[in-house]
């Protein structure tokens, strides 16, 4: 992870916090939440494309962290360990979603003030005319749903590498697989994502022209 903010620096030097948390220090536990909540929330949000669900999963993740942090042997592995918990919850939700596939074909744009809903295909399909101008929000919606089109195994790797800046080794630890597999999945994921964006006419040119 690149140290861009004070928060990043604090995260990288949270060893003593974790040790205190393992001793049952309430303050240290809450400080860990303060350090990691934003990262975990954003990771989960990109994974499941639903802000409410992201909140729920983030909270579950930290409850699990409270319960199990004592069992963590190597404090240097805290980061992949935490992402692993979050990933497992996300995977669980994805399976539930697949089981109840009939629930909804529309995604509600919860971050917008208006309560309008739009079809997934509409945001990605031909109806979406980039010439009309992207609002930042609309672009983010489109990018999120593009991520959502990736297979889970590729999606998690792409998010962890692209947005969370994890090392290949850390991702491999998170997913309990080899570094080579992670790299292959990442490359396949990036290539697919490129194709999805191309198909939806979201390219560097259209985006930068409008913004």
């Amino acid at each position: 992870m690149h140290a861009e903010t004070l928060l990043d620096i604090a995260m990288m030097h949270a060893g003593s916090l974790i040790v205190n948390a393992q001793k049952g220090d309430e303050k240290a536990l809450n400080q860990l939440v303060g350090l990691w909540y934003k990262r975990i929330y954003n990771y989960v949000l990109k994974y499941c494309c639903d802000s409410d669900l992201a909140t729920e999963i983030s909270q579950k993740t930290f409850i699990a962290m409270f319960r199990n942090v004592k069992k963590l042997n190597d404090i240097d592995r805290f980061k992949p360990w935490l992402y692993r918990i979050a990933t497992n919850f996300c995977h669980e939700e994805e399976r539930k979603k697949k089981r109840n596939k009939t629930v909804s074909l529309t995604v509600s744009r919860k971050n917008e003030e208006t309560t309008e809903t739009m079809e997934v295909g509409q945001a990605e399909g031909n109806y979406f005319n980039p010439e009309r101008g992207y609002q930042q929000l609309e672009l983010e919606e489109a990018l999120l749903s593009a991520l959502g089109e990736l297979k889970e195994e590729q999606r998690s790797v792409v998010i962890m590498k692209e947005y969370e800046g994890l090392k290949f080794k850390e991702i491999a630890e998170t997913l309990d697989t080899s570094e080579n597999t992670v790299k292959t999945r990442l490359y396949t994921g990036l290539r697919n994502l490129k194709d999805i964006l191309k198909r939806n006419n979201i390219t560097k040119e259209t985006v930068y022209y409008e913004l």
């Binding site: 309430e26 909540y37 292959t184 964006l197």
Partner: protein
């Protein structure tokens, strides 16, 4: 030239995580393979686009974790499905035992199994339960089959007699119906004869009366016509007589006029003659 970087190497290349030698090797490969180079460039440009997806600012969870124990309490164990099931089973067993307490429950272990009984406790006779030998079972089966067959036969006989009785009954009723039908046809003939004769009589009467009426009408008409004719003749004669009278009157008038004229002419002649005599 046989070198071809695999996807994992290309991924590491994208993130600059290859050793110097490996990096140079991939760079050489890309120089001779523009299609792979193009793909990598497209991915890089896509990564820039994806960079537009920024982190969302979030507030930390509104609930406060005091310590791990509190968290555990906030999610009680009996809420889980397994605990629910176990507790449910335990509760039902407890209820069973409670009911048993009031209804003289007895649990006894016999040689042939566990016996669980409510109310008065009757020991199961071992001899009753233990004579399931092959011969016994066969005999029972035979017995039951024979009994079944007899039962079936009696039932078939019963149904047969019932059916024959029904058929007889039907036959009798049909015969009666046929008889009544025959008598009905006889009666019908008489009625028809009567009816025909009646019709004939009626027709005769009608024709007679019709003839009578027509005769009368004809008579009336003829008499009226004769009377009319005589009246007409009288009228005609009267008219003729009047015409003759008028002609006679005309003749008389004409005769009188010619007499007068003749007289005048004679008078004039006489006067003329008398005047000429005097002149001479």
């Amino acid at each position: 030239m046989s070198y071809k970087p695999d996807e994992s190497t290309l991924a590491a290349y994208l993130y600059g995580e290859l050793s110097k030698d490996e990096h140079a090797q991939v760079s050489d490969y890309l120089a001779t393979h523009p299609e792979v180079k193009k793909e990598l460039e497209e991915i890089r440009s896509m990564q820039k686009v994806m960079g537009k997806l920024q982190d969302k600012e979030v507030t930390e969870p509104s609930f406060v974790f005091e310590n791990p124990e509190v968290v555990v309490v906030s999610k009680p164990a009996f809420l889980t499905g397994f605990m629910k099931l176990t507790m449910g089973m335990a509760a039902s067993i407890a209820l069973l035992l409670l009911v048993g307490y009031f209804t003289n429950l007895s649990i006894s272990f016999l040689e042939n199994g566990m016996q669980l009984s409510y109310g008065t406790n009757e020991k199961i006779n071992k001899s009753e339960t233990n004579n399931f030998t092959e011969a016994n079972v066969k005999a029972w089966m035979q017995e039951s089959i024979v009994a079944n067959n007899e039962n079936l036969l009696s039932k078939i006989n019963e149904v047969e007699s019932h059916l024959s009785h029904e058929v007889d009954l039907q036959r009798v009723t049909h015969a009666n119906q046929l008889k009544s039908l025959a008598s009905v046809t006889k009666v019908d003939q008489v009625i028809i004869d009567q009816y025909v004769s009646q019709l004939k009589q009626e027709n005769k009467d009608i024709i007679l009366s019709l003839v009578e009426v027509s005769e009368r009408n004809q008579q009336q008409y003829m008499s009226a016509m004769i009377a009319d004719f005589s009246a007409y003749l009288d009228q005609q004669r009267n008219n003729d007589l009047e015409v003759i009278q008028a002609s006679f009157n005309n003749l008389k008038d004409n005769t009188e006029i010619s007499q007068i004229e003749t007289n005048e002419i004679l008078a004039s002649i006489i006067s003329t003659v008398n005047g000429a005599e005097t002149q001479f």
